[in-house]
Amino acid sequence: MNKTLEVLTDPDSFFAKKIKEEIDFKPPLLIIGLIMILGAIAGYISVSTIMSTMASNSPNMGAAYSFGIVGSIIGAILSAILGWLIISGIFHLISSIFGGNGQFSRVLEFTAYGFLPSVFGSVIGIILTYLLFNSIDMTSMSNPENISQLIIKNPYSIASSLVGLVFTVWSANIWIHGIKYARNLTFSNALKTVGIPVVIYLLVQLISLIMAFV
């Protein structure tokens, strides 16, 4: 476990050692599994609070309530798996442009380590989500637009988004070193491979955060 945590502080040394070993999906699956569980917990808190409010305002919402809860859990699981696969695929594709070579399975393995900061980020996210829904009196609200506006403009929600951005930058640093070894790239090309999609993602996130207040 301590060896795995080394990726957070010294990713270059970690991946330099790891590339010499056989591909091992146990730690990556554990990380993605944790992301799934934490995502499901955050989703459950959000959806159950909103759905119970809507159910109290209008009867016959029991079925929708159950569907919403199950949907949020499935959504968290799928987004973790799909996120892992899609991000790995993007890195694999972009690294090919910069002359990268290496197995996709190795990219998958190393990319998963990059999600480790997100585990901590998810824990903080759950705490902020809990505080967010405790700070909002939604019993008097029935208009979904009001609810979404309220959530978006809440300081806890803004804090959660900012924490997500910080942990994404941390993940990007791990991915740069991981892709460098997984696709046998120079540091500069690895930086471009990871930097291009991550910067685009960060810009989209920042713009949507700013747009919510305009």
Partner: protein
Amino acid sequence: MASLLNLGNIMRKILFLSLIMLLLISHVHADTEVRPTITVSYAVEPQALMPGDTGTVTVELKNMAVTSDVYIKEEDKTFRMNAYVASVNLGGTTDIKVLDGAQTNLGLLGPGDYTKVTFNIQADKNISDGLHYLTLEVVGGSNMYSLTYRIPIKIDSRNVNLIVSDMPSTAMQEYSILNVNVVNLRPNEIKSVIVQPSGSDITFTPSSAFVGTIAGGNNSTAKLTLNTVSSSIGNKNLQLYATYYNGDNLHKSNIANYTLDVVNRSSLILSGIELTGMGTYNVKGSINNFGTTDAKNVMLSVIDTKNVTPIEPKGKYFVGTLGSDDESSFELSASVINDASSIPVLIEFRNSNNAYTAIKQNISLGSMYSNTNSNSSVNSGLVSFFIFASIALLAAGVGWLIFKSWKKHKKVE
């Protein structure tokens, strides 16, 4: 004609024999004569004139005989009881002009018949107060004697005064009721009295108040609503006067001047504010009617601004009627963006005249928090600072880790 009869108490009736005689029957000599009895009465309108006023003097002549003929047996003579009035003339003075000349050839007045003759008169502007006399001359014809009589005209220059007994020296930005006492110092009644208020930066409802007729030596009250809701702070001058008719003459009363100090205080105030939540606030408190008049249809609502959004159904709160010295609780909800320092609240109501009024008050997020005793209240500013300071520290920590890893990587290379 009918108005003359209605003048009742102001009509001074004189009755005298204009021409002598009644029935001189039997044991009389051959030169016995029987003549008709005429009564003369008059009325002056208005009862008391002011200098410069015009008025009317109406003279009524009535033949008091009951039969058309009187037969004297001893004389074997029949006397006709018709009275012939040749002319009626009213003579003016230097101070009171009679605008009409003498009225001639009024003709015969049969037994019980009467006629009225009206003269227009005008008092001089500089006439002195007191009684002035006009000379009435009735010239009879045939078997009627003539007569001359003095008709007194009363001149009284006393004007009408306005007194506001409940005029406050200081007023809030509110509605106040003023009771304007219109005092008629004159001996006669005045008609069509209208009170006219005016002032700068203040308004009155109604803009003028009709009082009607006020009897002599009497008073009547006009109720006005003074509106200082939108007035700026400071001293305001206001004037009150009345217009009225003395007979057919329009007059203006003495002007009553008052000074009113408007202070920066609304009649509807919010108190006991408790704020709970963060980002979205639940506002609980009391609305108090600090003023002297009732506020009807009171409703509070959060004003939708760039930084503050009302949250339904607590975006509005209907209170209803709030009497003077009355209070009611209210509850509002609003979503507030971090940099907003207060929640603007619109208070709408109608005054006793049903006039719509809206005033704006701000519920300060900072100060209200410190004033409240609510345990559930959270200082949003402090919490936000703590959260974003933590994020800044986290970002610095991550930045340091990235910097360290890059530095190590360069060393290895």
